[in-house]
């Protein structure tokens, strides 16, 4: 873990150059990946707010939560969980896919 912390050290520098993060309490949602499909395939979130989606990959294989609409690209290794932070979103539909199984893993975030 120490090596990893060292490897990630430049991130600290980058973040120090950026703005201090203002942690507003984000609303949380859960999503499961099972047999290369998202469950549920539709999530309704409040518009104009930061939202946290906990994605739990129950498959043995890794998946990439990918959405250019939501501006997210995140690999979720097999049998593990990943946190996807999105928003604030304008009202509308935002599609996402599991890039490694794009024919079955599809879903949509609806901001309202």
């Amino acid at each position: 873990m120490r090596g990893l912390a060292l490897a990630l050290a430049p991130a600290f520098v980058l973040a120090a150059l950026g703005l201090p993060s203002m942690t507003a309490a984000a609303q949380e949602f859960n999503l499961v990946i099972r047999n290369h499909k998202f469950e549920p395939e539709e999530i309704r979130v409040p518009a104009g707010k930061r939202v946290s989606i906990y994605v739990s990959n129950e498959d043995a294989s890794p998946e990439e939560f990918d959405s250019s609409a939501l501006k997210v690209e995140k690999v979720i290794p097999g049998k593990s969980k990943g946190l996807v932070r999105i928003g604030p979103l304008a009202p509308g539909r935002y599609e996402f896919i599991g890039e490694f199984h794009a024919d079955t893993a599809k879903g949509v975030v609806i901001a309202e």
Partner: protein
């Protein structure tokens, strides 16, 4: 097989476009092949390591490890590209003159290849780790290894061909202009990377401001399409940019321009050259 081909190809062209530009920008440097090769080699190794520790990275920093790693990799590449352009501003003129006078084969030019080799390595690391994870996933679910191998190899081959195409396309530019063109390409490349980096910091929850979307051109030129994807890598095209992304993009271009001006040799030296 097709799935493997498409994903591998997609990642390879992203790294390949960058390698093509680096090769064109270092035209005339004798050991550049070895440097770029070294970058690709170390990047590939790094991709394997990142893939191996994907889970640890993912859960580090309260679940933001992956985003922070991506932002760091992109940030480091931006700095390297700035260094390169500053160096070129200082020495590019002499090199162009030399190339015109004695032919490109003779220009030894003791140029620092380190910066661009690092950029190549970082690009391969970023795109490569996704390929490794994807291929590992296919093996884990028990798809036939031979289909995977064929698809992956084909994807790699098509991607490599694409890199060659980028390189030879750029080489068609007359020697007199090549450095001017690659300097602009590198500035745009860096600006695009900076815009991506701030988005990763936003996704990590480290930056929470200026996240409003400025425009949406996904209907006209989707970023997921082949053209959109290439423009994304090359000039940082984003179909739904946030305010912060645009600021990062423009700021990087401004810093590049300022560095180029500061690094340019004084007038007397220029006259002497």
């Amino acid at each position: 097989m097709l799935g493997a081909l498409i994903i591998v190809f997609r990642e390879v062209i992203e790294a390949g476009l960058i390698i093509g530009i680096v090769l064109a920008a270092t035209r005339g440097v004798r050991e550049r092949g070895a440097w770029v090769g070294l970058g690709v080699g170390i990047g590939t190794l790094g991709a394997g390591v990142v893939a191996l520790f994907a889970e640890a990275i993912s859960s580090a920093f309260e679940g933001a490890g992956q985003e922070l790693l991506n932002a760091s990799v992109l940030g480091a590449a931006v700095v390297m590209l700035m260094w390169h352009n500053a160096w070129m501003a200082r020495h590019g003129r002499e090199m162009t003159a030399e190339m015109a006078a004695v032919g490109e084969a003779v220009t030894t030019g003791k140029r620092p290849m380190t910066a661009l080799a690092v950029v190549v390595g970082l690009a391969v690391l970023r795109e490569g780790s996704e390929v490794v994870l994807f291929l590992y996933g296919i093996v884990a679910t028990g798809t036939s290894a031979s289909a995977l191998l064929i698809g992956g190899t084909l994807g790699l081959a098509v991607g490599a061909a694409f890199t060659a195409l980028t390189y030879y396309g750029l080489l068609a530019i007359p020697a007199r202009y090549i450095f001017a063109v690659t300097t602009v390409l590198i500035a745009l490349l860096a600006a695009g990377m900076a815009a991506q980096a701030v988005q990763f910091l936003d996704a990590a929850g480290w930056i929470n401001v200026l996240g409003q979307r400025l425009w949406d051109t996904s209907g006209v030129l989707p970023q997921d399409g082949i053209v959109g994807r290439m423009l994304h890598t090359l000039v940082g095209y984003t179909d739904r940019p946030t305010e912060l992304q645009l600021i990062a993009y423009l700021a990087t271009l401004a810093v590049m321009a300022a560095l180029t001006r500061v690094a340019a040799p004084p007038r007397s030296a220029r006259a002497a050259a």
